[in-house]
């Protein structure tokens, strides 16, 4: 199954849940900002990550957004200030 580049951005209202979400994402991808991670995941990996994060959050008050980026879009990434562009992963999008 082909892998896809994902941006995962979260707003978690409570510190313990925030910590759990961050710890889960540390195992799945790369932290690029305080509450933004970049991950390369196939369909199963994505489903698994989403399931694990949903177990951490309170859906009434916490927000997690998953933005996919195709290779064309990854190339058009821009940034200012500190940090670096998305890591170079080899992946394919069907």
């Amino acid at each position: 199954m082909s892998a896809r580049f994902w941006i995962v951005a979260y707003d978690i209202a409570e510190p313990k849940r925030l910590h759990a979400v961050a710890a889960t994402l540390e195992s799945a991808g790369t932290r690029v900002q305080k509450s933004v991670f970049e991950c390369v995941l196939d369909a199963a990996g994505f489903a698994d990550l989403r399931e694990r994060l949903n177990q951490c959050i309170d859906p009434a008050s916490d927000r997690v957004r998953y933005y996919p980026l195709c290779p064309w879009c990854v190339e058009r990434f821009a940034w200012q200030g500190t940090g670096a562009p998305p890591e170079d992963h080899t992946y394919y999008v069907v």
Partner: protein
């Protein structure tokens, strides 16, 4: 184009200014994440304006462009929705 702008700004005052500027171009969907529906000229203008507000040694702003196919696949958990743009017809 659909552009996600997310930032980490080290100073409160600069943070407020960057947020205010981003609000001119898009919708805040999370504490420091905006979704913007802009054309190339607007994106360039936004980036120029924000560049003047940040400390490049301490702050970071990331701009991710999503093509329509990617926008269709956006997933979110918790309250909120993907911002709409008449051109893409996504609600």
């Amino acid at each position: 184009m659909f552009v996600i702008v997310c930032y980490d700004i080290a100073d409160e005052r600069r943070l407020r200014r960057v947020a205010r500027e981003a609000e001119n171009f898009g919708t805040r969907v999370q504490k420091s994440v905006f979704e913007c529906h802009v054309d190339g000229a607007q994106l360039a203008e936004m980036q120029q304006r924000i560049a003047r507000l940040i400390d490049p040694l301490a702050d970071q702003v990331r701009y991710y462009r999503l093509c329509p196919k990617d926008v269709e696949v956006i997933v979110f958990d918790g309250p909120g929705s993907v911002t709409a743009d008449w051109e893409y017809g996504i609600v």
